[in-house]
Symmetry: C2
Subunit: 238 residues, 2 copies
Amino acid sequence: MTQKSLEICFTPAAFDAHADSEAIVVVVDVLRATSSICAAFANGVREIIPVATVEEAREMKAEGRLIAAERDGFVLDFADFGNSPFNFSADKIRGKSVIYSTTNGTGIMKKAAGSHDVVIGSYLNMSALCRWIEEQDRKVIIVCAGWKRRFSLEDAVCAGAMAQRLLDGGRFTTICDSVHAATDLWMAARQDLTGYIEKAAQRSRLRDKGLDDCIPYCHTFDVTDVIPVLREEKLVAL
Amino acid sequence: MTQKSLEICFTPAAFDAHADSEAIVVVVDVLRATSSICAAFANGVREIIPVATVEEAREMKAEGRLIAAERDGFVLDFADFGNSPFNFSADKIRGKSVIYSTTNGTGIMKKAAGSHDVVIGSYLNMSALCRWIEEQDRKVIIVCAGWKRRFSLEDAVCAGAMAQRLLDGGRFTTICDSVHAATDLWMAARQDLTGYIEKAAQRSRLRDKGLDDCIPYCHTFDVTDVIPVLREEKLVAL
């Protein structure tokens, strides 16, 4: 196999500059959407349907669906639960279909839907995801969900960890500056990952709202082997 | 004085998420637009008029103006010279008005024109620029020109050097993740700046085109005290 190209896109705002219908897109939103999605599949959810807008989520609630929806960390009033990975416990979601809308994570999934595959990445499923990616023999673009079109440190560091793993495996090469930057940030962060993330704005936002109990869990490697993938506008386990 | 806010925007694609009419915007395009602009003012240019499109530059050539214009590193056929800082020598430009259009650097100047001030930053004028910024008592947004809406390593490192200087001065504070990332990249790069930049995509592009003679110069601190500023769609020396 020839080496395939690896890119990182630090913000959905720049996705158009990276978009490639032949590529696999890995969406990363460590705090908390893609961590929560991985947790949900680890706990047996049947499918997750990402919707970008609050209005869509509200309409689907009216149809009697189970809704996970938040904006800026707060559970929307009509939703069944919010965006903590601890919300997606087996007793609530096993075998069920969940509608899901978050501030940053779900919008980019819709935007990337024209790619060859869209998969969900986090620390929680990193090893399984990297093994699967290495078998695909395709260009990969890791897209950081960021925060309202801005760069997010915790997503960049996670993307860097994933990129370093893929580059070390020897099947990927890169001429993408974001990959060089992200792997260097990962090198700076990896000795004390949650300590490094203390300076991230999203870390502070979650603390201010009392929602930071999930930080260590969201930075735990390999809790699950599940790989959520987008199929006909629904996330299902590969 | 209360501490003012410092932000970095890694790509013009995300500028809307940072834009603030009360802020000073510093545009950074190390290889090569903002380095060349600083060199031009150091060599006595009277004014530089940034134009975003090739068409505008071509029209102004027809009016008999002096034109600096490149795309992807190549001098446009109708232009008088390209985008190397060595093109802007005193014998060619002293006392003159120059029309200027480049792949990445000039577009963001137009986009940022609604800010309180738009100034040009590079290693070449860093100390003078930081001293001036510290006197203004205003929020600052450092905008990296990047490459075709993508992240550029050399711009991020320069922005990090500038941010570190401003934070060390004590008059600025930040809750911007890009600032934390850029200052960490600067810390990783600073011992061997041009060595670190070897992995940047723009470094390779310039090498491939034989345009890399300017790399050490573009990474030299404090060649000039000039601060180019945008005034009524023209860059002039402060």
